[in-house]
Point group: C2
Chain length 296, copies 2
Amino acid sequence: MKFKRLALIGCGLMGGSFALAMREQGCVKEVTGFSASLATRQRALNLQVIDRACDSIAQAVEGADLVLLAVPVRATDACLQALRTTLSPHALLMDVGSTKGDVVAAARATLGERLPCFVPAHPIAGKEVAGIEHAQATLYQQRKTILTPLPETQAGHVQLAREVWERVGSTVFELSPEAHDATFAAVSHLPHMLAFAAINALLAQPHGHAMMQMGGPGFRDFSRIAASAPAVWRDILLMNQQEVLAQSRHFRAALAQLETAIESQDAAALEQLIEQASVARAAWQLNGLSDANDAA
Amino acid sequence: MKFKRLALIGCGLMGGSFALAMREQGCVKEVTGFSASLATRQRALNLQVIDRACDSIAQAVEGADLVLLAVPVRATDACLQALRTTLSPHALLMDVGSTKGDVVAAARATLGERLPCFVPAHPIAGKEVAGIEHAQATLYQQRKTILTPLPETQAGHVQLAREVWERVGSTVFELSPEAHDATFAAVSHLPHMLAFAAINALLAQPHGHAMMQMGGPGFRDFSRIAASAPAVWRDILLMNQQEVLAQSRHFRAALAQLETAIESQDAAALEQLIEQASVARAAWQLNGLSDANDAA
């Protein structure tokens, strides 16, 4: 697998890491890049993540056989409109958005006869720091990537997309856009919301800041995702509104069960509720690796 | 600092790690041990965590100048009663419990003229796996330990306790028992409750197990503490009931703010709430070390 030209739309952590990984694998000959910010484009060039900085999306995409859209999800619509004019009918177009229903709707509304080029993708990777400076070729290694192809998507493109993500180190799964959004509301969007709320609850208390300083390794790991990029998570939570709110209701019910057991000093009920969570979590593994083997 | 004999009451992860660290530092000559389970006593002996397994708490404590009580918090009361008969008036007695108000009340009710020996301690360390097999001399390194001395505690003993915990690698803080329990309800007990509830909310859904398999590194870190030992956390949550429920109310209010912003598609309000959490969490450091330097 060797692409003639990768067009990177959005030169941030996710896109930059993809470009670096594809280069390292020898899978791309040239990388063109566009970012809304001129300074970011220049940094991507200086860091040799891209070979050529372009002044427009249309220009970056022209002649590319692989296009990766790696922008905050709310910018997807505008980017798709901008790139359709020069997108080759043979190009493989992917995004990396954390929500899929909205991206698919935007693609249907915008891409027209280029819709079969598009394979929506969501690599489950990231860091709590954003920006091209933190991009690294290893970001997608030992990570899951979810593809949510449409009925219209070219079958060959789905297979090619699978190979691309495997090449940068991911294990690839396929889900419908709807199943994807419900699943990630539960295992990603809700946990982020809870971590944000836990920090805000501390800050709302008179001694909250001093209390926070006493946190240990449990607090560190639990709250790590609360440091995530505000604009990215604002978009994700708004775009996946219905599923996120549904998961929040499930969560509140589970929290109420614990509160009731604590309030009534029902040791047996409380232990049973904790045991259920503890057994399920202890059995969980990231990509079949135990936590200990995956401290990256 | 060299103790003639350390008596370890409770040969689990916390106690075992303390004994190993004190040995490694050359701070104890002999370690006697008691555990309610004969098999655990035997394992502690085989693993050379203790030198001598005792059949009773009174026997283990006899002649010891350092006594560490490392049992689930609800067992504290019974252990204090058992050890007071043979506790030397010069011995330093400490516990490692995650709640302090209840331990102090039990000590006041039980220890009588030995109360000045007692320095309640809470090392903020642990693993999501329990048991003497997981004990390690490094467990308390680069961790915080909170001491909550009473007005009756011998001043020399507080100083000695401080030196002991610094010797095994901790940074030592002093708080009142009340401030301790409020603080750890916020930064430890509530996060555990939220992690338990998040897993239980998943398990309550038809596809919950399959959804959980899709979790990435964010889910891994956020939910790690959900695998904690059920009996330990049942006791902590029940013992610190009032503070835990108060923190849960603070949390629910903060979660409701996020839900309202999502429900009303109020992007500005949502971003502001996330930003507040993100900035505070990004600035947080465990013992002055950045997250990246502390991936232990």
